[in-house]
Symmetry: C2
């Protein structure tokens, strides 16, 4: 599924090009806006990501929240293609999932797609794919999810995933997989099969506990991956999984488009040092003038500023304060250095906290993966 490809932007799981028009995306993907009516069903206080409509659209969230308020619990699923480095963009859906878990007392299933990475990356060894999964599991545990209500698993280790994947695979023709995942499913038959493994994750609560509404926080660019799980769910007697979609956090070097782990200058990694953060933010694309003089004369463009967007989306909750800053930037009174410094400090503080939480998570990781309440249920019931 690709949106806007005829015009000035493209959003698919493989490609994000141009400045994304999210209103048009909602139309073209056939998803729903997260409007005020739904926001109210979340209750107060709102997570900043929701308040900022960073999570901006959904599938079936209304139905899932309606049922929740009638007493039916749902479970959350989010995943990660493990690699050596996780970025802040990878952290966001996890943090949002943590908040949703707390707010709705939801079980959480986190799939590390070690198998997919192995299939897709020609030079990645099986052993390294597994090692990345172990490393990333620690970063994920550091997010602070409930270790008795969260199951983190890597497909190459939790091979019981083959059982629900087989049940699903029977309902997916090769041509459906190709239509959804693209020509790449031809490259090797691991890839051909993977859509079933992914759908098994998106429906996993159903396999562990019987029919269970599932909700998947994800970047909007990943939406088409939900299609197979939604198509197959009714055939297995399960409710269709819903989704909440986030916008795409701008990479540091241009507004719009995606942060890419393979271009380190565009991204902040959870493992970056303070020094690296300082340098990257210093070089970030801003809405400021090319020179101080130009900035003073013409003013800046906070709406087209990566630094402003990051502060607004990720860190600063105070609307009035953000509005004041935007004004003073537009008037050429506030200079980029100030915003960059603040963002730098916010990120460094966040990364320090994360590193500390990651150290603590080492003692908890086995609960997430093997012997917490949900993990045990998953290993036993599949």
């Amino acid at each position: 599924m690709s949106a806007g490809s005829e015009e000035d932007f493209t959003v698919t799981p493989w490609e994000v090009e141009g400045e994304v028009d999210y209103d048009r995306l909602i139309q073209e993907f056939g998803v729903q806006e997260i409007d005020q009516g739904i926001i109210e069903r979340f209750g107060e206080p709102l997570h900043l990501y929701l308040k900022r409509r960073y999570f901006f659209s959904h599938r079936d969230l209304d139905r899932i929240l309606d049922e929740y308020h009638q007493g039916r619990k749902f479970a959350l699923a989010t995943g990660r293609g493990p690699s050596g480095n996780m970025t802040i963009a990878h952290y966001i859906p996890l943090e949002f999932t943590r908040w949703m878990q707390e707010r709705f007392d939801a079980d959480v299933y986190i799939q590390l797609t070690s198998d997919e990475k192995f299939y897709v990356k020609q030079d990645l060894s099986f052993e390294l794919a597994e090692e990345y999964a172990r490393q990333n599991a620690l970063d994920i545990a550091a997010v602070g999810l409930d270790p008795d209500k969260t199951f983190i698993f890597s497909n190459l280790e939790f091979t019981k995933i083959y059982r629900p994947a087989a049940k699903i695979a029977k309902h997916i023709t090769f041509n459906t997989a190709k239509a959804t995942f693209g020509e790449s499913v031809l490259k090797n038959i691991g890839w051909s099969f993977f859509p079933a493994v992914q759908a098994a994750h998106l429906l996993l609560g159903n396999f562990v506990d019987g029919p269970t509404p599932m909700l998947v926080p994800m970047g909007i660019d990943q939406d088409s991956f939900l299609k197979i799980a939604r198509d197959v769910a009714p055939k297995l007697g399960f409710p269709k999984p819903g989704a909440v979609h986030s916008r795409l956090l701008s990479g540091l070097l241009e507004i719009g488009g995606k942060m890419s782990a393979s271009e380190p200058e565009t991204a902040i990694f959870l493992s970056d040092t303070a020094e690296q953060v300082r340098e990257k933010i210093w070089n970030a694309f801003t809405g400021g003038g090319a020179t101080k003089r130009e900035h003073r004369e013409r003013g800046g463009e906070p709406d087209r500023c990566v630094v402003f967007q990051w502060l607004y989306t990720l860190f600063i909750d105070d609307d009035a304060e953000m509005e004041r800053r935007a004004q003073s930037c537009r008037l050429g009174e506030r200079f980029c250095g100030l915003c960059k410094e603040e963002l730098t400090e916010d990120i460094i503080g966040f990364l320090e906290d994360h590193a500390e939480r990651k150290r603590k998570a080492e003692g908890e990781i086995s609960k997430y993966m093997y012997d917490g309440e949900l993990a045990r249920r998953a290993w036993e019931n599949l």
Copy 2:
């Protein structure tokens, strides 16, 4: 791979049509005859199946036996697509595997392809696919393989098979799978992936114990399934698996062609009652004349007689005795009733023994599947 399809017979994993010319098959499949030179390396006494050249061709058996005699052990792999009923034709490669295990002190890996059956059979439920695997495991255990040197596993239960399958899948393009397994791999993506699961079985000793020569007793019609495992093995640093091929046991109702479990009159099932055996053998196709008179006048054709073939291949070891019978049949002196009676009694005796061994096997099944020496190594090392 199909042989002879342009002319008067066809042998593929999906289809056996016409009377098979095994000499031509050897040419067209590019396999080797099991000749006297190889036979001698088996040592005496020979299994009847070898003596009768029921196992008649091979791949790399010479290399594997050479290495064996130089002190390198090999492992055997044979499989079974579990269904409600196993026939005598399913029993043969298992019995031959048992004999090879004893003769060469070889580990044996027996895969129950519950997943494949589930993918392939539209109406087969997951639960029934698993139940068939459990039932068939008992029939297999009854063959008398060494429970500490034999690992019987069902893919939907021993999901660790997904690990070696993933390693293999990375090396198989979808088009290679299609070329080997036919258009059916398009039907669902479980089917698309299955060639990797099967190859994982044919190489399993390598994954459990490090590089290990594997030898696969199989019907010649299944030979093309070996191709993928042979292609991938060197890429993983493993020796190519070899094979010993059997002819196709005639179904009861015509000479040539295959016994089919879906046409019960053509087959003897391991679960058949004495009464059923009597009736089926009574109705079997023979080389005898249409009437007693015709038989007396023109004589019979033992070479085109299912009953004679079964006795010759499966039961009677005495060459001179078989030659005498053939002669007296050709002369119209020996009538079909006598051979049918003998075959009936032989089969009933075999089935009674089997049922008895199956009862005993119930106490051993957990060694084969979970806690025998080889089973434990497989569960631990994968």
